[in-house]
Amino acid sequence: MRDLRGDVKRTLGLRLWLSGGWLTILALAALCAPLLAPKDPLMQDLFLGRMPPFWMDGAEPGYLLGTDSLGRDVLSRILYGARLALIVALVAGTLTCFVGATLGLIAGYYRGWPDRIISRFVDIWMAFPPVLFAILLIAVMGTGLLSIIIAIVIIDWTRFARVIRAEAMTQGAMDYVASAQVSGQTRFSTMLTEILPNVLPTIVVLLTLEMGIAVIVEAILSFVNLSISTDSPTWGGMISEGRTSVHQAWWVLVFPLITLFLTVLSFSQLGEGLKDRFDPVLR
């Protein structure tokens, strides 16, 4: 009989490599944007507006992915846009995860009044439409990187809290948790040493998913002009600008859109792949 586990491992490996590869490229692009970018992302040249990408007729040498209506280099803007996207993904994703998972773990394991309070907050939160909530928050706090990050944490911690609470409840009912307590462990240390390692795979999946979501939220906010100042390039801003001229210059819209799509997809695939790595049953 063939060992199916081997097959599972191989496809998992491929998924991990592809998504990890794309994110590594992106991280390098973000770090080395000034070195890699062929042009200044802000430089306008009205004589070079809406130049097509390199393989099409009328392409301008040096502008690989074409230019937008103001004559700015699309490739350079995508590279610089990766900076903001990744900072938001890492910082907002991690903070959201930390806040939400901590509250979910406490609610699910301790139950009782901590659970009642946290679950009540989650219920109230879920009643707000997230995008409107985000726009409202930014409107109150003002635009800027910090506001975006805070908005994402405030909106999305419930995603972690809900899922991790349910998982912690399931794990908490298992006999091994009871036996840890009979071994003289306190509730708090049982939570950290017994429950946490078993919900960690889920946390990792949610975390990477959240990083993808953070990228999307940032893009949405840029799209409605509520992200950072408009002159630093963002993928959402580019998509928003590209939308108006999609019939004359599709590349202004399509390239940032593809980048965004691949990035969000990679984050979620990375999560799935890592989860299986973490899972003792598949390891």
């Binding site: 091994y176 071994s183 390692p197 003792p280």
Partner: protein, 289 residues
């Protein structure tokens, strides 16, 4: 009667109302095996959990005492109670799958009490774990210690949990239907192993089961539980010769081992069920007033 474990008039209630254990008293003498018999849902597991201090949070001990080695556990502050229970008592659980932490290797799970409560060094604990694994007849012990629970069969996991229960030389072991979740083929071996370990280590054993046949082989005394109420407490020979309560008699009659194996099973007659239900109700009325 005053046992190593002595439960006196223990009442456990659901926080919302509802009684789970009704005035339960039972004794497990040092080095003896006491059977706890009752149908599913009677409250057998909750007795074990009450002793070990692992009752579900929805349940409360509302009255009664649990004496372990001459100390009423209810009078101790929580941390001291945990340590005392951890040092003196241990559980062999019903389901060996959920009783081991899936993300930890076997070795440290066997000896965690030695390290956590008794303050052993890790190397000493590892040596002890090897001894224990040999004692429960696990071949290739060093490899098993490095495995994760999912890599082992149900029977192996139960052997490991038995080793773990005996690790800190507790004086009381609670075995909660330790063979119910296992294949029929390994049930006998596990049962045999528990008896062997109990005799060698001279521990008191509270043996929970709903199988009278099993009980007759391992126990010295027993209690019969119905709806959280002890309906009969007896020693084994007396119980089999002259059960006092009609429910006990009906249980005996319902067990195929003690009737002609070719005959069909006799269910507990409705009149007997009605009688115990009435007794339980009368008990509730008496305690409510």
């Amino acid at each position: 009667m005053n046992g190593y474990l002595s439960i006196r008039n223990l009442t456990v209630r659901l926080k919302g109302g509802g009684t789970i254990l009704r005035d339960v008293s039972l004794n497990v003498a040092a080095g003896q095996v006491h059977g706890l018999m009752g149908e599913s849902g009677a409250g057998k597991s909750m007795i074990g959990k009450a002793v070990l201090g692992t009752l579900p949070r929805a349940l409360d001990i509302t009255s009664g005492q649990i004496w372990l080695d001459g100390v009423d556990l209810q009078t101790l502050p929580p941390a001291e109670r945990r340590n005392r229970i951890g040092a003196l008592a241990a559980l062999i659980p019903q389901d060996p799958l959920t009783a081991l932490n899936p993300s930890r290797r076997i070795g440290p799970q066997i000896t965690r009490r030695l390290v956590d409560i008794l303050g052993w060094k890790r190397q000493d604990a590892a040596k002890r774990a090897l001894e224990l694994l040999n004692e429960v007849h696990i071949p290739d012990a060093p490899r098993v210690m490095r495995s994760y629970p999912h890599e082992l069969s149900g029977g192996m996991r139960q052997r490991i949990l038995i080793a773990s229960a005996f690790a800190a030389e507790p004086k009381l072991i609670i075995a909660d239907e330790p063979t119910t979740a296992l294949d029929v083929t390994v049930q006998k071996q596990i049962l045999h192993l528990i008896s062997e370990m109990q005799a060698r280590h001279d521990t008191a054993l509270l043996f929970v089961t709903h199988d009278l046949g099993v009980m007759s082989k391992v126990c010295d005394t027993l209690s019969v539980l119905y709806a959280g109420k002890v309906v009969e407490e007896a020693n084994m020979p007396r119980f089999f010769m002259r059960p006092i309560h009609p429910y006990s008699a009906a249980l005996l009659a319902a067990t195929p081992t003690y009737t002609d194996p070719t005959s069909s099973l006799t269910p507990v007659p409705q009149t007997v069920v009605d009688q115990v239900e009435r007794e339980v109700m009368e008990h509730d009325l008496r305690t409510a007033s």
